[in-house]
């Protein structure tokens, strides 16, 4: 990577950022869509950070053991769903705060991931195949940037499907009703518990797949530091995206690009302030929240029952 980017010099930075929007954006995309689904039903899941780590570990381990990365992706989804089941059940008990459960699930989920992932730090697991759109180019950097993962394409497809699901299907209506006005949902004869359970579990399934994107696509390895807060940023990202799946897609790409800034500058030899550039996504999230939130009005698009006890 280093020698090729020297060849194209400064051009490497925008290129790496564009590549980063797709590569680094993929986990964001899955986690934020999962969180969007969860929050639409009126519950917050802060524990997706733990889910992401567990998903990354499960994907890597299963891919290594079975030699099939796609089985790994599936395993990541189910591992995430299992954690989601704990969260969905516990956070719906009376007087139990869903934010606190999320924090506990971050600790528990990362514990599970590191505990079972320990033996898999060394070995190299087979990675997901990529679709190489950059074959025509002579620049290896451009080729690397245009390696598109099928996971990214799947995420790209899920966003509009989820928007359509919320807008035009019966089940989508149930979820929105439970999230906006549990009373009305109860009057419709919908089981609030079951709908929220489904939303949290399905959302965690998606977040688990986001973890698979980390360990099987980019950066494509399993270490204990593979997720550095992406699961938490997804919560902020959903607020930024106004609980709209399509907006989640654009926001994920933006965050993926911000994340690529630090490594991109490092690859062209700017070592000064490398760690500070790594903080770019967090600072960006904070700034976005500062500018989009207001104490005077509730945000447009926020599910009515979000963060309440009902």
């Amino acid at each position: 990577m280093a020698d090729t980017s020297q060849a194209i010099g400064w051009l490497g930075v925008p290129l790496a950022i564009i590549a980063g929007t797709m590569r680094g954006g993929t986990p964001f995309l899955f986690v934020s869509l999962g969180e969007c689904l969860t929050e639409k039903s009126g519950k917050i899941n802060l524990g997706l950070e733990g889910t992401l780590l567990t998903g990354a570990m499960a994907a890597y381990a299963v891919s290594y053991l079975t030699n099939s990365p796609w089985l790994g992706v599936l395993a990541a989804g189910f591992a995430g769903a299992a954690l989601g089941a704990i969260h969905g059940w516990l956070s719906q008990q009376p007087r139990v705060n869903d934010v606190a459960v999320g924090i506990a699930m971050i600790i528990f989920g990362s514990g599970v991931a590191f505990f079972f992932g320990k033996p898999f730090i060394q070995p190299k697991a087979p990675q997901l195949p990529t679709i190489n759109l950059g074959e025509w180019s002579d620049f290896p950097a451009l080729q690397a940037a245009l390696q598109i993962s099928p996971l990214f394409l799947i995420g790209l497809a899920i966003a509009p499907i989820m928007a359509w699901f919320f807008r035009s299907t019966r089940w989508g209506l149930f979820i929105r009703a439970v999230g906006d006005s549990p009373e009305a949902a109860r009057a419709m004869g919908v089981s609030i518990f079951n709908v929220r359970m489904f939303s949290v579990i399905a959302g965690s399934f998606l977040a688990g797949i986001g973890g698979a994107a980390l360990s099987l696509y980019y950066p494509g390895l399993w270490t204990e530091r593979i997720s550095s807060g992406q699961g938490l940023m997804a919560v902020a990202l959903v607020i930024f995206a106004r609980w709209n799946p399509i907006m989640c897609l654009w926001a994920s790409l933006l965050f993926g690009g911000a994340q690529a800034l630090g490594p991109a500058l490092q690859s062209i030899g700017i070592k000064e302030g490398y760690y500070l550039f790594n903080a770019a996504p967090y600072v960006l999230t904070l700034l976005i929240m500062i500018f989009t939130c207001s104490p005077k009005r509730t945000l447009s698009g926020v599910p009515g029952a979000l963060g309440t006890d009902s």
Binding site: L90, G111, F115, K118, G229, E272, Y275, Y282
Partner: protein, 372 residues
């Protein structure tokens, strides 16, 4: 009457807290059994490593000190109804500020003055860090949980930047660190022990926090605002100032924890600053139900869990993440126990025993009319 009611309520919350911790320990045993180790041997090892002998108990105390301080960072704002989890970030910036101050003052001043300077620097920096989250919450409506979490990552990036560049000691090769503090400026040990004075800081901070929240008008105002923010505003309480003040105080505690870690344990700032006192402190605060005095006891317990990480690895071949799973299970159980309030009849106030007047015995032929 009122006394007995509050007594029963205290007993209920004590029993539920301890029951939850016990249940967490049991679940952890089940987990160990599933992972293929003997849970009783693991319990034995943890007990020995955490509380078994005076020598090992001192290790627990050393770890309990920053936990107490870090727990206050979550417990104080919780009284205002805020969930702040920026403990780790405030601890890291507090440690950084303390080191910078300690290095800047060097040996030009008496050690005591330097220590006070380091403590104040750490506290102010930590206070600003969490105070900012409180300010954003009140004046910009930014969710304090998320903003404090993001600030954690910003703090860690700042730490990596400073120990990797401007403040780096070139002789620290394997583990980038800042230049070490002068030996004389380090916090010493309490005489007769290996436990540093930070433990005393933690104890005093918890006691002050308790009295501040429970026995002063300031604490009363904060609790009122936490109970019903609209009522507090109507009553004329300066909710915004209260929020920023409480968050600032919370941050000073975590910043002091960072100073203690730097000036008593590490001797320099490096990545060991974020080794889990942040999340541990959150667990302590929730398990103590945000009561600063209870936090002292729970800190000992969690400190013991942290202290046993090494032996779990050496004696049982369990990875160090086992400690995380243990903490997570206890945390989940503590949260679950919140839903059990009022479920046990033992803790319920007995209905007032006034014998209802006995119905007059029905005279024959005059059976009571059953109304349907």
């Amino acid at each position: 009457m009122a006394l007995s009611q509050s007594w029963r309520r205290t007993l209920e919350s004590l029993c539920l807290s301890f029951g939850a911790i016990l249940a967490g320990i049991l679940l952890f045993g089940v987990f160990c059994a599933l992972a293929g180790t003997n849970p009783f041997a693991v319990y034995g090892s943890i007990w020995k490593a955490a509380f078994g002998t005076w020598s090992t108990f001192q290790n627990t105390l050393v770890r309990a000190a920053p936990l107490m301080l870090s727990a206050l960072c979550t417990a104080l704002p919780a009284r205002l109804g805020l969930v702040i989890i920026g403990n780790e970030g405030a601890l890291v910036v507090g440690g950084l500020a303390a080191v910078s101050m300690g290095l800047a003052m060097g040996t030009a001043f008496p050690p005591f003055i330097v220590q006070v300077g380091m403590a104040i620097a750490g506290m102010i920096m930590g206070g600003i860090w969490i105070g900012a989250a409180g300010w954003l919450r009140h004046y910009r409506g930014v969710n304090e949980t998320i903003s404090s979490l993001l600030l954690n990552y910003v703090a860690i990036a700042l730490l990596n930047h400073l120990v990797g560049g401007p403040l780096r000691d070139p002789s620290s090769l394997n583990k980038p660190s800042t230049f070490p503090l002068a030996e004389v400026n380090m916090l010493g040990s309490i005489p007769g022990t290996r436990v540093h004075w930070g433990l005393l800081y933690g104890l005093i901070a918890c006691i002050i926090a308790y009295f501040l929240m429970q026995r002063t008008t300031f604490g009363f105002a904060a609790r009122t605002a936490g109970g019903n923010i609209r009522a507090a505003k109507i009553a004329g309480l300066p909710v915004g100032k209260l929020t920023v003040m409480i968050c600032f105080l919370a941050g000073t505690c975590a910043g002091l924890a960072g100073m203690v870690e730097v000036a008593a344990v590490q001797g320099a700032a490096n990545e060991s600053l974020n080794v889990g006192y942040g999340y541990g402190g959150i667990l302590v605060a929730f398990a103590a139900r945000h009561n600063p005095l209870a936090a002292v006891l729970i800190s000992l317990l969690v400190g013991g869990i942290l202290a046993s990480g090494g032996i779990l690895q050496r004696a049982h071949g369990l990875p160090d993440a086992t400690v995380l799973i243990f903490q997570g299970l206890v945390f989940l159980m503590v949260l679950y126990s919140d839903s059990l309030y009022g479920k046990f009849g033992v803790f319920k106030e007995k209905p007032i025993m006034i014998e209802p007047p006995a119905p007059p015995p029905p005279s024959p032929g005059q059976e009571p009319v059953m109304t349907v």
